[in-house]
Amino acid sequence: MNGDDLIERILREGERRADEIEVFYARGLSVGAEIKKGVLGNAEESEAWSMAVRTVRDGRIGFSATSDPDRWQECLDAALASGRLATPQQWGGFPKPADLAGTPSANDENLVVAVEDAARMVDDLLSGAAEHPVEVVGGGANLARSYLAVANSNGVFYGMGRTAASVSLETIREQSTGYEFDASPFLAEIDPRSVGERAAWLAARSLGGREIETGRYDVVLSPIAAASLIGQVLLPALSGRNVKAGRSFLADKVGEQVFDECLSVYDDPFAPGLGSAAFDAEGVPTRRLVFVEQGVLRGFAYDLKTGYRYGEGSTGSAVRSGGEGPGIGFHNLFIDGPRVKEPGDERAIWIHDVVGAHTANPFSGDFSVEISNPFWMEGGEPVEPIRTAMLSGNIFEMLADLGGLGNDTRRVGRLTIPSIRLNNQQIIGK
């Protein structure tokens, strides 16, 4: 039985036993070439198949998932059993078929999932890294193609293809390390050679850093460092579920100037990107969502469950990861705003990455992390490496008073983000 036939069969069977049923189906093929000791070490190929079932009966939502097509009946039974325990809630039904307005941009017809292609990308990474005197200690290239479908008993049956190409490289020189990466749905957007060159530059140039005294300094967070901290703290605070549960710093602040007026945050599901989609993980048509406009909080993200429960309506923000049920997330999130002047023009500490961003307090926004590849920056150029230090602060306070946004916008996972200048920050030296 192929995927579509199986979905139909589960829908028909589920309809008899519940008010409504939804099937989410994913299959994918990926290959990877992994670098070990500076050459191609492992070659990998992965085929995955998964199916998740949700049933609704009298406002009770049941869920189960399986990676084994032969166990679909057990999976359906488990979903119904799980629904019997869930607390009943306001429920207005799975979506009905709609005209999907936008066109997603996450599928590269020219991407071939072949290990030989991944091996060539590894060669390019390594030749880029050879520009600087470093050892390559890890990294690799991956190519993937997947098909996702969501179908429900109201007649929705949407499917989409997705592709992804990604590369990463880890380098070292003595005790100085460098790490760079890139990922895109489009193979042509990935330049393994330049990723390799940057990873090598970081390790080579960070060698021999000078100590820094504890004190207050102006800093520039690179897009990677900014994405790590913002991903841990700001994104959960924009989830409608956290807002309604009293777990978001931003709850009750809609319409208020919460951040610097040069900062806007929006989700554009139709922009090219790894999360680009015309429908979300529950079959709700996606739309462009503005969360923060020139520093003013405009709204939050909802899925069907949270939307119905609190009378807010889904914003088409359901996403799925692993074998779990849908949750609230983002498709292609942009941190954006006017660029007045280059944030690195005046002397500052450039912070390439941070160690331990996941230990930030997601509710209060407080954090203290170790910084990676920090440099003194003058006139927009790194002039002198700094050995090691910690950065402490509060992310919500930082975003309320920015020193500027850079012109170096890049994609970091599902975030598209520039470098961010922050003045007068707490740095702790050794």
Partner: protein
């Protein structure tokens, strides 16, 4: 077929049961199923690795065609690997005090709700509890004729409480996971503790960052052991030149009396009866009396760099095995908790863990405490929050001034190479000199 020096296949078929309760609402309570296989072929040089759903290990034809496909992948590799000989054998799995499969989902939900409710002490606005149960049926076979099967049962929960007052929000969280049976009964105390910590943190101060004398509680000292030493002793990182502990066997990397162990045979949350390459597991002393003695290895890293013990290969289901820690700890010393506080005099006591991270090549690590207390004149003074600690692997272990006698293990999950596996870490109370404390207080 391309040359095949060795192959193995590891299948994990199982069930995951999750219950999620958010402020009294049962958000979900149910079971999902998976069936994953990883096929590895060692070709003339390196590994070709295939991941599939639902492989029939008893079908000779299916096994042969998978090995053939993996050997074609192996043909593009260039890194020449050898596999060291290693002892074989499977330990018995600990008996289950109570089998979670014999407790129905309704009772699990009710017990979890009791823990979640206990966290709702006055001042707490939001509570969330999550039960996680995993039943893994593992089958392994290799081209050397080894074959084994075992079942791993894991059961546990986490509970989170958030207290808020005048726009300030603070959290308390507790968790407990075991491999020896069902683990939800009689645990309301942990819920209450999460609630009480959240409320008391509303009045806690943010400490001033800088170098201080620090006392680490057993949970945080366990994370310290894991981040500061454990990862850097992993044979794959050492082989690839990505660890500052490379080439340091026989050198003093810590204070006298310091013993650091990784022991997969203990019936703690990181227990495994055999490793993911079919190698027998054994207690491995990484550091003895402050001297680096052993790396932790899989067969290929042992062959490449030696100096250590194999049986430390682990994998998440559906992912290739890599070198990982299991149950990692610092052995007891002889200082009492009171002696440690007294010796600290003026400094900071750090309690609980919000996680940590390490860059083993640079030798720098960071981790975060759930909360702490200032220590003044050997006595606990005001409570502090949002405090983290960073340090350098090669100097930090020399700065351990006192090792306590009250080791405790704490369960958790460790991420590496995109894979998450169950681990435990532990230590007695430790006194660290000149620790770099991060905090934005003035």
């Amino acid at each position: 077929m391309a040359e095949v020096r060795y192959y193995d296949i590891r299948c994990v078929r199982g069930e995951i049961t999750l219950v999620d309760i958010d402020s009294g609402v049962v958000e979900s309570a149910g079971t999902s199923f998976f069936d994953k296989a990883v096929v590895r072929v060692l070709g003339p040089k390196g590994w070709g690795i295939l991941t599939r759903d639902h492989v029939d290990l008893d079908s000779r034809r299916e096994v042969e065609s998978l090995v053939e496909a993996a050997s074609r992948l192996a043909a593009v590799t260039e890194d020449h690997l050898d596999l060291a000989d290693a002892p074989r054998g499977v330990l018995p799995v600990p008996p289950l005090v109570e089998d979670p499969r014999e407790v129905d989902l309704e009772e699990k939900t009710r017990l979890l709700a009791g823990i979640e409710e206990a966290a709702r002490v006055p001042g707490v606005g939001n509570t969330r509890a999550r039960y996680t149960e995993g039943i893994d049926s593992v089958r392994f076979l290799d081209s050397s004729g080894n074959e084994y099967a075992y079942e791993a049962v894991r059961s546990g929960f986490s509970v989170l409480a958030i207290a808020s007052r005048n726009g300030v929000m603070q959290m308390g969280s507790e968790r407990d996971h075991i491999t020896t049976g069902f683990n939800l009964r009689g645990k309301q105390d942990l819920g209450r503790k999460a609630g009480e910590v959240a409320v008391s943190l509303l009045d806690a101060k943010i400490p001033k960052g800088g170098a201080k004398r620090a006392v680490l509680d057993p949970e945080l000292a366990g994370v310290f052991t894991h981040e500061a030493v454990g990862h850097a002793s992993e044979g794959d990182l050492v082989r690839e030149g990505a660890s500052v502990l490379g080439g340091k066997i026989g050198e003093a990397i810590g204070c006298a009396g310091l013993v650091i162990v990784d022991d997969p045979t203990l019936h703690e949350f990181g227990f495994m009866p055999v490793d993911a390459e079919g190698v027998a597991v054994e207690r491995t002393e990484i550091v003895r009396d402050g001297i680096l003695r052993s790396y932790i290895h899989n067969r290929e890293t042992l062959a490449a760099i030696g100096n250590g013990v194999p049986g430390h290969a682990r994998s998440e289901h559906g992912a290739p095995p890599i070198v990982r820690m299991s149950n990692t700890f610092i052995e007891n010393g002889d200082a009492t908790y009171d002696e440690i506080l007294e010796e600290c005099r003026d400094g900071i006591l750090l309690i609980g863990s919000r996680g940590g991270q390490v860059d083993p090549g640079r030798g720098v690590f960071q981790f975060n405490a759930e909360y702490g207390y200032l220590v003044e004149g050997g006595e606990l003074a005001g409570m502090v929050r949002d405090v983290s600690l960073s340090g350098e692997i090669l100097s930090t272990l020399h700065n351990i001034a006192l090792i306590g006698n009250d080791r405790k293990m704490s369960p958790g999950y460790c991420g590496k190479g995109g894979q998450s596996v169950p681990v435990s870490d532990g230590a007695p109370h430790l006194l660290l000199e000149g620790a770099t404390i991060g905090g934005r207080g003035e």
